[in-house]
Amino acid sequence: MTALTAWLDGIGLLGPGLADWPTAARVLSGTQPWVHAPTVLPAPQALPAAERRRTGAVVKLALAAGLEAVAHAGADAATLAAVFSSSGGDGQNCDEICRTLASSERQLSPTRFHNSVHNAAAGYWGIATGATAACNALCAYDASFGAGLLEALTQVVTERSAVLLVAYDARYPEPLYGARPIPDGFGIALVLAPAPGARPLARLDVRLSEAPADTLTDAALEKLRGAIPAARSLPLLAQLARRAPGRVMIDYLDPWRIAVEVDACP
C-alpha cells in the first residue's frame, strides 16, 4: 500500500502523572522523570452547566485532550471533523445501568441511558464546541488507537480536510474492572491536516506493517503502554517529544502494526 500522509498540527494528552502534552513531552524526552499520580480530570468548562453535571470520566478525558490539541494547533474546533475512539466507553455509567436492570425496579435514568451510547463523548464534543462536521465513534478493543489513526488518516487523505483524532479510555469500577483491568484514564488527541499549516509539528507517513511494535525503555511507562489501549500511542508521542525524524511501530490489530514515519519539523 502507499503511505497515508498527514501533517500534525497539535497534540493533547492527559494520563496518570501526565497533566498535559508539555509535561508528557518532557517525560517522554527524558528531561523530567515520570512521577506516577492518578489522572486528574478537569471539569469540562466548555459545556453548559446543565450538561457539565451529566458527564462522566470518559467525556471529561476526551474533551480535555481534544481541546488541548485544538488550542495547540491554533485550529477552530467548530470546523474540524472528528474521530473519537475508545476501547470501552463510560464504564461507571455502564455499571450503574447494569445494577439497575438487575434490581427489581429497573427504573433507568434517562440521562444514564443517553450517556450509555459509545458516541457520548463525540456528542458532548459537538455541544461544547459547536462542531457540525462529520464525527465518528470507533472501537477496536486494544487496537482502538490504531483504528482511530487509520480512520482519521483516510479522512484527511480522501476528504482533504483537517481531522481531530481523540483516543481515550477510563477505568471500570468493580466488578467489570476484574474483567477489564484498565488502571486509570488516558486520553490522547492529534490534529491532523492534509497540508502543512502555519507551524506544523511533523509530517506523518503511515502504513500497515507486520514488524513488532516498539516498546518504551522506561519500565513504568512501558507498563502503562500495555495497560491502557489509548496509551499504545506512547511510542509515537515519544518520537514527537524528541523532535527528531524516525520510524515508530504502533500496536494495532494482529497480525498488523502501524508504521509511522515521523518527519519532525524544525
Partner: protein, 400 residues
C-alpha cells in the same frame, strides 16, 4: 466519490432471514412487530424480534464470542450466499486486503445485564462464564465478523447509536479510496437487550402499539433487532444493470442535544446535501427516500423539514421501521439493503402501520407500495449524540 458496488448483500430482521422473505414481507406490506415478550421484559410496547436467534449455540471455533448479538450476526452471514461471496473476494484480493466495518450500539450487553443478576453474593464478582472481550465489548462484533469470514485486514466497529451502520459505508469507502484496502464487508448488528428497552421507555420515546412513522398520531418508536451486511467493491466491468451501487455518503453532527435533534433538522439536511454532493447529483435525481422515520413526534418533524429543504416535498418517501422496528445500530445497513431491494425489484415500499399522514410535514409519504423503475434513492440514519448519515444508492443501469 468513485462509485462502489454492493457486490453481495443480505438482511435478517423481524421480517425474516435473508432477502427473499424480507422482499416478500415488504411487497405484502407485512409488519414484523408484535407485543414484547422478550426475556424478562414486561413493558407495554411492541418489538421486532428475530425468531430463533437463540436456537443454536455458536460453533465451537467461535465459542469465545458467544452472545445473542453474535448469534444474530452469524445467522445473517449464512443467508443469500454472502459468506461465499466474501470468500471469492478474499481469494481475489487476499484476506488481508478486505476490511471489516460494522456498526452496533449495544453489542453483547444483554449477557452482561444477565451476569449482573448472578454476581457473587460475597465478593460481588461477575460469574466465571462472563465474557468481556468476546461479548460485552463494543468491538466483539467486529472481531467476530472478521473471524467468522476468515478475513485478516483492518477491522473496526462504528458505534454512533442509530447512525452506526450507515456510517460504516462512509468509512469503508474512504479506506478503499485511500488504498488501505481493496474491498470491505460493511454492516450492522443490534439485538434486543434490557438497556435499550428500558432506556427508551425511560425517555418516554416508545409507543405502546406498533410504531406509526409520519402519522399525525405517531407516539414513539418500536424497537427492533436485525443484522445486515454488504460487500463493497469497485464495480466489475461485467456487472448487470440491476446491480446496486453506492454513489455518495454524507455525515454531519447536530452539536445540539444528546437525545433530540434541532427542530429545524439542520444537521440532517447537512448530511443529505453532502451525500448528494459526493454523488455529484442534484435534488431532482433522487426517486425515493428511505426515511429515518422513527415515529417520535419531534424526530419525524425535524427530518421532514430537512427533506423539504434539501429534496423538496414531492419526492416519494417512507420509513420501513413500521415493518422492521427501529433496529438501532443495525438500522442503517438494514435500510440500505431494503433500498437495494427497491432498486433491484423496481418498487417503493409503502410505510406500514401509518394510517393518516401528518399533513403538517412537507414530505410525500407513501402509504401503499408503488412500482417504479427507480434510478437513485437516498437512505437517512440519525442517532443520539446528534450523529447524522445519509447514503445515496443507485441501480447500475441507471447510473451508466
Amino acid at each position: 466519490m468513485t462509485p462502489l458496488a454492493l457486490a453481495s448483500y443480505t438482511a435478517t430482521s423481524a421480517l425474516g432471514r435473508g432477502l427473499e422473505p424480507t422482499l416478500a414481507a415488504l411487497q405484502a406490506q407485512r409488519s414484523g412487530l408484535a407485543p414484547c415478550a422478550f426475556e424478562t421484559v414486561r413493558l407495554a410496547m411492541c418489538v421486532g424480534e428475530v425468531p430463533g436467534v437463540d436456537a443454536a449455540p455458536l460453533p465451537a471455533a467461535l465459542a469465545a464470542f458467544e452472545c445473542r448479538n453474535n448469534r444474530l450476526a452469524l445467522l445473517a452471514l449464512g443467508q443469500d450466499g454472502f459468506a461465499a461471496a466474501v470468500a471469492r473476494s478474499a481469494a481475489r484480493h487476499g484476506a488481508a486486503r478486505i476490511g471489516v466495518f460494522v456498526g452496533t450500539s449495544t453489542s453483547g450487553i444483554l449477557e452482561t445485564e444477565q451476569a449482573f443478576r448472578r454476581l457473587d453474593p460475597v465478593s460481588g464478582a461477575l460469574p466465571p462464564d462472563f465474557r468481556y472481550r468476546g461479548a460485552h465489548n463494543t468491538f466483539s462484533l467486529g472481531a467476530f465478523v472478521q473471524r467468522a469470514l476468515g478475513l485478516r485486514g483492518p477491522a473496526v466497529v462504528i458505534s454512533s447509536a442509530c447512525s452506526s451502520s450507515a456510517k460504516v459505508f462512509a468509512s469503508a469507502q474512504r479506506a478503499i479510496a485511500a488504498g488501505l484496502i481493496e474491498a470491505a464487508v460493511v454492516g450492522g448488528v443490534d439485538s434486543l437487550c434490557l438497556t435499550t428497552l428500558y432506556g427508551f421507555h425511560s425517555l418516554q420515546l416508545v409507543s405502546t402499539g406498533p410504531c406509526r412513522p409520519f402519522d399525525v398520531a405517531r407516539d414513539g418508536i418500536s424497537i427492533g433487532e436485525g443484522a445486515a451486511f454488504a460487500l463493497l467493491e469497485r464495480p466489475a466491468a461485467a456487472a448487470g444493470e440491476d446491480s446496486v451501487l453506492l454513489l455518495g455518503t454524507g455525515e454531519s453532527s447536530d452539536a445540539y442535544h444528546m437525545s433530540s435533534p434541532p427542530p429545524d433538522g439542520r444537521g440532517a439536511a447537512a448530511a443529505m446535501r453532502q451525500a448528494l454532493a459526493a454523488a455529484g447529483l442534484g435534488a431532482a435525481d433522487i426517486d425515493y427516500i428511505n426515511l429515518h422515520g422513527t415515529a417520535t413526534p419531534s424526530n419525524d418533524a425535524a427530518e421532514a423539514i430537512a427533506v423539504g429543504a434539501v429534496l423538496g416535498a414531492a419526492v416519494p418517501a417512507s420509513s420501513t421501521k413500521g415493518a422492521t422496528g427501529h433496529a438501532l445500530g443495525a438500522a442503517g445497513a438494514l435500510e440500505a439493503v431494503i433500498c437495494a431491494l427497491a432498486l433491484r425489484h423496481g418498487f417503493m415500499p409503502g410505510g406500514v402501520n401509518t394510517a393518516a399522514v401528518d399533513a403538517a410535514l412537507p414530505v410525500s409519504y407513501l402509504l401503499g407500495n408503488r412500482d417504479a423503475r427507480l434510478r437513485r434513492v437516498m437512505s437517512n440514519s440519525f442517532g443520539f449524540g446528534g450523529s447524522n448519515c445519509s447514503l445515496v444508492l443507485a441501480r447500475a443501469g441507471a447510473h451508466a
